[in-house]
Every structure is written in structure tokens, then in C-alpha cells.
Amino acid sequence: MTIQTDERTTREGDAPLGVRAQLQSAIEDLRRLADIIAVAIARRDGLVIAHDLPKDVDPKRTAAMTAAIVGTSELAARELGQGRFLQAIVDSEYGKMLSTGAGEEALLVTLVRPEANMGLVLLGVERAAARIAAILSGT
């Protein structure tokens, strides 16, 4: 977020800030797993919710592209009779990008090192997605 929060707003215990703190801690917990490079949470319509992407990556563009990838993948899965969409994995030379649904409204984007133990990563991502969905269902 580019907006700075008024310290009085914080002091008064505004609910939205609680949500943001919880999302940030969900990101941090997932980041602790080995082989995870960066994490972002985006809305399915392409807006950034929270992220810890590297400085040289534009979070807004990332969110927009992820929304397009997931939207397209979901439709492809349905059209091809493969049932409910779970995850899109973009596999590239220097790593993988996982885009996972986190509830009705949000997406969890995880950047992973190429040599990662995917079983472990997927387990962590799945847990984080469920946690994010639960946090956001309250807003």
C-alpha cells in the first residue's frame, strides 16, 4: 500500500488494519519455507492486496497478469471437462510461479526456486491459501 496510515487510526484499533496485519503475517509464514522466493496476494480481478515481491518487480502488473492467467486457466479447465480449477503453475527456467485460489475473491501467488521440493511447497501453499481465504471472508 502506498497510503500511510494515520497513527490515530491505528490507535483506535480500526478493523481493516487488523486484516492487513493478518495477511502480512500469512505471507511471512509462507516465506519461511525453504525454496520460496516471494509471495503476493491479489484479487481475482487483478488488484494487489498484499505482497513481499522483490523491489524490481511491479506488484500491480504481477497482480494483473496473475488474474489473467488464473481466469484463463479456470475457463480452460472447465471447457476441457477437468472440473474445478485448483492451481496454475508457470514453469520457467529460473523458477516456478504458482497461482492458487484463496477463497472466492483472492489469489495467492508464490514464486519458487526451480529445484524446490514441490510436495512440501504445495502443502505450505495450500495451508496459506486456506488461511488467507478465512481472513478475507471476514471483510
Binding site: T2, D14, V19, R20, T139
Partner: protein, 387 residues
């Protein structure tokens, strides 16, 4: 002496005839905790940058801290920003400021100090941050009496006085009384939707006449200040109308997912002009990509509907796209390729697209950037409620 005090948000100042009138009393109001201080700080910094003296009465921050925090707007001439120190006494330390309140339990002493500072420094702008500090601590009648007196002193000295007020103490009657004392009311609201926190402000003349804007989404950028912020402007229209070219003409830096010369996923770009920031999403035009449109067509602030101004046969599709996005979303039609022969008349475009009178049609040549900024300005004014 100017007779206006600019807000520092260009597109608003243009429409307010240069800013708030001066002298004036401006209520910066919210009934929930919302970000108001940034607007007040920007108001002060804008004045200082114009060479005006400004007085900042801060009940919450030490002047040293406030000065440091103001540098988030960039460098400014500190001599022009005069502070009334109201925190040293609360911390039982001596003040180094010319104006300091010594007895925080004495409303008359507090307000006398502020009024003396106004009379002596003759500032163009005054910010009181904030009135709820007083409303929470002193009897209502006394607060009102001194509040009114403060505004009179401000008027006498030719200052535009703005005061933050978060109301959780007073009822509707008192709030109306405060509005009656004010020339402008700027309301603030922060909303959270699916983890995205958005800030809005709305400006109106007190008393129901004159300016009345819609809720204006805004954001803050380090070293830039407050900008109007549209998270989503759609650039859409039929195949081969020039949508991607419009996005590129609008934005200094864009990404496009295109194959074989046509957009297959979307164009994305970011605009920063006229005190305005916007995220621009360009959609593909062909029907087979409508699912992409559906992804991005949520919570749209405004639409630039691009058509090829020479192709009547495409207007059925253009009308369909507009309906897909929602007819209530503020829209400007760009009749593009205005340099080609065989232009449709504005009336023909209007009737084929079934446009209401509120929808402007602008002729553009996107390849040369002609008409694009005008179209954006019209759209921004529609969204802000300034048209």
C-alpha cells in the same frame, strides 16, 4: 495575496477555479476513523510551495516530528510553516517554538495562543489538527464559542482555516451547526473490500449550493503527495479500433500480451497526469476473448470506449461491449482514426451507440496521441462529479 488556496490536486483546483476561496473555513470531517491528516498536510505544503505562510496547530505531534513527517512531500521552506506547539506542555518539556500552549487544561489559553499566532503571523492557511481533541476535553458550549471565534479571527486576517474533525462526541444537530460555520465540507471515508483499503474524499460547499463532488478515490505517493487514484480505467471497444495504441498513448510504460498484432489477454499501463493516477486495463476486442473482459470488468471507475470512427458496421459490437461493462459506468467514446477519410458524423455515432447526453464523443488520432488527454480529462471529471 491570492483569492484562492489550491488543494495541490491539479484536476480539483482546475475545477474549483484555483482552489478553495480565501478567506474560508473548511471542515475536514469524518464520522469514522479515516485518513484526513494527509489532505491537511498537503494543503499546508501546497501553500508553502506557493510562498504562502502557513500555521499548523498540532495537538498530537511534536513540531519537530511533524516537520520531519512533512518531508514525505519533498523538501519545503521550513520558515514558512509555523507550528503551534501543543505537545511540549503535555510532555512537561520546554518548548523551542515561538508559539506554544503551556496549559492544556485551559481552553481559553489554548485558543488565545492560536489566535495570537494567527494575528501575528498572518498566515494564508491554517490547519487545526484537530478539533476533536478539544471536543473530547471541554464543554460543548465553550468549544463552540471559541471555535466560532477562531473562524472569525481567521477571516479577519484573510486566512483559509481548515480543521480536522472526527466526530464521535456530538450528535447530528451539533454536526450541522459545525457545517453551518464552514464554507466547505470535505468528507473522508476509508473502505476495505477484500483486503484492499481504499480512501475517498468528497468536497462540497456548505449549504448545498456550489461545488459538490462525488466520492473521489485518492492515494498518497511519497514525494508527490495526494493524488486522485482510479484503480481501474478500462480501455475497450471493437476489434482493431486502436485500443492498445490508446493505452500506449496514455501511459508512459505499458505491458501488452499480444500475438500477431492483436491483444489476446490485456494491455496494462499506469497514468500519472493532472494530479491523477490511474491503472489502465486494455481488453481484447474480439468476442472470443470476452472472458478476459469479464476478469477485469469489476469495480471499474470509468471506460474509454474506443471505436474506429470510419466503421459503422463495428458499432453494434461497441454497443454490446458497453452493455457488458454496465451503462452506469462513466464512459467517454473515442472516435479514433480521425485522420482517415469517411468519418461518421457524431449524431450517427450517438444514435447507433444509443448514447445519453452525458456521454461525450471525442475525435482522436491515437497514433499521434491527439485527443487522448482530452478524453481522459473528460472521463476523470465525470468520475469525480465535476462535469
Amino acid at each position: 495575496m491570492t483569492d484562492h488556496t489550491a488543494t495541490g490536486i491539479q484536476i480539483l483546483d482546475d475545477k474549483l477555479g484555483g482552489g478553495f476561496t480565501r478567506p474560508a473555513a473548511i471542515l475536514l470531517f469524518s464520522d469514522h476513523p479515516s485518513e484526513k491528516r494527509l489532505f491537511a498536510e498537503q494543503f499546508v505544503i501546497t501553500g508553502v510551495r506557493a510562498g504562502e505562510r502557513c500555521l499548523y496547530v498540532d495537538f498530537f505531534r511534536a513540531p519537530q516530528l511533524a516537520r520531519r513527517e512533512l518531508t514525505k512531500f519533498g523538501a519545503f521552506d521550513e520558515r514558512l510553516a509555523v507550528f503551534v506547539d501543543a505537545t511540549s506542555a503535555q510532555l512537561l518539556i520546554p518548548s523551542t517554538e515561538r508559539y506554544a500552549i503551556h496549559e492544556m487544561g485551559d481552553l481559553d489559553h489554548i485558543m488565545d495562543t492560536v489566535e495570537r499566532a494567527i494575528r501575528e503571523t498572518k498566515p494564508a492557511r491554517v490547519v487545526v489538527d484537530s478539533m476533536e481533541f478539544l471536543a473530547d476535553r471541554f464543554p460543548k458550549d465553550a468549544v463552540f464559542r471559541r471555535w466560532r471565534q477562531l473562524l472569525e479571527v481567521g477571516k479577519q486576517e484573510g486566512a483559509t482555516v481548515s480543521y480536522l474533525f472526527l466526530n464521535w462526541t456530538y450528535g447530528q444537530t451539533e454536526v450541522e451547526r459545525i457545517e453551518d460555520m464552514s464554507d466547505y465540507v470535505v468528507e473522508f471515508q476509508s473502505r476495505m473490500r477484500t483486503g484492499v483499503l481504499q480512501h475517498f474524499l468528497r468536497i462540497r460547499h456548505s449549504g448545498g449550493e456550489g461545488v459538490q463532488t462525488n466520492w473521489i478515490p485518492y492515494t498518497f505517493k511519497e514525494l508527490v503527495g495526494l493524488t486522485v487514484y482510479f484503480p481501474r480505467i478500462l480501455v475497450t471497444g471493437p476489434f482493431n479500433a486502436g485500443k492498445s495504441t490508446v493505452v500506449r498513448a496514455l501511459c508512459k510504460d505499458t505491458v501488452s500480451v499480444d500475438r500477431l498484432g492483436t491483444t489476446v489477454a490485456f494491455d496494462y499501463g499506469n497514468i500519472e497526469v493532472m494530479g491523477l493516477e490511474a491503472e489502465v486495463f486494455g481488453t481484447p476486442g474480439q468476442e472470443r476473448f470476452d472472458f478476459v473482459f469479464q476478469i477485469f470488468a469489476r469495480e471499474v471507475n470509468g471506460i474509454l470506449l474506443v471505436i474506429d470512427g470510419t466503421r459503422a458496421e463495428d458499432l453494434v459490437r461497441a454497443k454490446q461491449i458497453r452493455e457488458l461493462a454496465g451503462r452506469n459506468v462513466p464512459t467517454v467514446v473515442l472516435a479514433n482514426k480521425a485522420d482517415l477519410p469517411g468519418q461518421l458524423s457524431p449524431d450517427e455515432i450517438r444514435s447507433r451507440l444509443d448514447l445519453g447526453a452525458e456521454v461525450p464523443v471525442v475525435r482522436t488520432i491515437a497514433t499521434e496521441g491527439q485527443g487522448i488527454t482530452e478524453a481522459l480529462r473528460l472521463l476523470a471529471e465525470m468520475i469525480l462529479g465535476l462535469r
